[in-house]
Symmetry: C2
Subunit: 411 residues, 2 copies
Amino acid sequence: MDPVLRNPQRRRVLAGGAGALAAAGLAAAGTARAAEGAAAPAAAAAPQAKPLPAYAAWKDADSLIVHSANTIETRRSAYGDGVITPLRQLYVRNNLPPPDASVLNDRDAWEVRIEGVKNPRTLRLGELKTLGVATLATVLQCSGNGRGFFPHKPSGTLWQVGAAGCVMWSGIPVRLLAEQLGGVADGLEYMTGTGGETIPPGIDPATIMVERSVPRQAMEDALLAWEMNGEPLTLAHGGPLRLVVPGYNGVNNVKYLKRLAFTAAQSPAKIQQSSYRIAPLDAKPGPDFPSAWAMDPKSWITSPGADGKPVPAGRVLVKGVAFGGVNAVKRVDVSVDGGKTWRQAELVGPDLGRYAWRQFALAVDLPAGSHVLASRVEDSEGKVQSEHRLENLRGYVNSSWRDHALAVTAA
Amino acid sequence: MDPVLRNPQRRRVLAGGAGALAAAGLAAAGTARAAEGAAAPAAAAAPQAKPLPAYAAWKDADSLIVHSANTIETRRSAYGDGVITPLRQLYVRNNLPPPDASVLNDRDAWEVRIEGVKNPRTLRLGELKTLGVATLATVLQCSGNGRGFFPHKPSGTLWQVGAAGCVMWSGIPVRLLAEQLGGVADGLEYMTGTGGETIPPGIDPATIMVERSVPRQAMEDALLAWEMNGEPLTLAHGGPLRLVVPGYNGVNNVKYLKRLAFTAAQSPAKIQQSSYRIAPLDAKPGPDFPSAWAMDPKSWITSPGADGKPVPAGRVLVKGVAFGGVNAVKRVDVSVDGGKTWRQAELVGPDLGRYAWRQFALAVDLPAGSHVLASRVEDSEGKVQSEHRLENLRGYVNSSWRDHALAVTAA
């Protein structure tokens, strides 16, 4: 890439701590905490950044914090003024190592099995492409985004704001595909996607396989996607084919999709039954607790001061991103005093639909001194971003505006 | 970048002929004619593709036809299903070699002079960024796009369809900036942008400088942009700062902008006075002929068969892109019989505003045999894409749907 695209000063070492990779490299429990510009207290910075893994080596290292080979975060300071997150800057989170890159040698030969419809079939991607196409922008966000702000330091990657982006998908609408296969069979309440990762021999597939179920109605706007931001889907992001469930947390957007089934029950996989369950701190997570499905309204400031440097005192534009999960953004308010007073921000740029995020800006005068910048979104249904995080054992779905506030110094 | 992102079979040598570069490397008069999938008769393919120049080395060579160091075209087959053209695939056309890459070392220090307002000023880019921000999608198209279809083989690069893309800009609205400087002074009918390229000593600047004037009303939606597709503007595309004139031909979107002036007359530069003038074949181009300003409605097919390979007979989606210049797209019709009969296509994906292009798709059954695929757009004002090119000496503004038809073989 353009060697001068990024200011070299940006290459700062901010991700600390060594990610603890479980045996066989299957788990991705990074323990790094990136201190970049966060209002929350920061752990000491480690002396060296981790390199990008081979399958994501094409990304822009300066924009990213590498927690582990399977968990890579966008720096808060890297989000630009455009609404779509460039692929080079987009976060990566894999539950398993990706399949071998050879699966992309002949993309159109990739096969996906469709079940739970009147006429179940296995289709090649090349055939899917003749059946229909749609393009849709969605927020893609790991359900653990913001975990780094939980005081009990949950297990899992301690993401700050950057396990999220807004991207443009192209693929075939699931609804259209199901119609062409006779429609969904009766009595099937869930849409279940199965990933095509390799399960090492000797391991019970149910313990590690990526198979997620979401309520059937989520199919209405779902896609089987083969492109992201106008490019064939990369291995890092689930190519050749990925299930996109708009408005739902990232884990439900199953990569390397080899099976899409309408099912009577949720998947028996551990990732469905006990992982990604929002359970109290003292509970054993299990199927009785809510699953990390639809996202909540959330926003955060991206500028100024997200790079940790002092902001020139005087007029600045306070900018950030805001989304409503499955609902559109209605308004965004911004505070420069840590939430004591608020002013409505202007929404910037094109509206890419209810599942995309909106960028916002507010012109303020920042006198010399310390300031805490915060933002708060309200969605089209009147739901307002919460002030406090929902405490939960694994540190999922943190949308607290207070946790996401940004302490800056104007000079 | 991801080494397996693109199918290696795509790396075909289709651009032929040696570009005739004038002395000092200043002119960019490529003579190559890319034969890829065009209905028009094709010149013989040359044995070797040219390499990407250093300032564009980060682009995806497989998606591009390199005519010369300053003229690089997107392959018709590279346009994907997403509405925004990825930067790695976007065409490049420079009238002069770009400034030294060191101008990007400190982007915020770049200075632009604003004249023809009540309070003229020189502003640093860092200051511009505090004054306002907007994001806007526009079609960026070289006024010579489609020149390769003119039978008289005009001088200049013989582009086919690929000197065009749809990109997202972020920057400050010119209207807002002018207001903050007291407004445009009276009696100034043009908005004139001056590029920051280096003029070699001993050359009269007026003969080669990039300075373009457009009617003053074009300022209404114009931007001074520092980002493209969410990334800081690259050197290849005019970074650190570029004038964006939505709906206008590419040349008016002045790169490396060092001066923006409201002026009583058009620039005296050759590029304004005689180049980019739509003059008859037997005329000497000059200021009495129309300038390549606002774009006309135009569309073309991008799939299937744009890679020159046979299309599997049976159901296919015929897809392409369509735009209305300064107006929105109203409808697109598609023909699979070279324009004898037409069917309305479906518009695909989000509407990014009147200056963006729309993608379209139509499901058809293609029996084995030869077919000529064509598309025709109608804009919101009822103006329909023309059937025939406007013959002109330098081969500008070709929007003929017939020239842009695509001959394919189904098998």
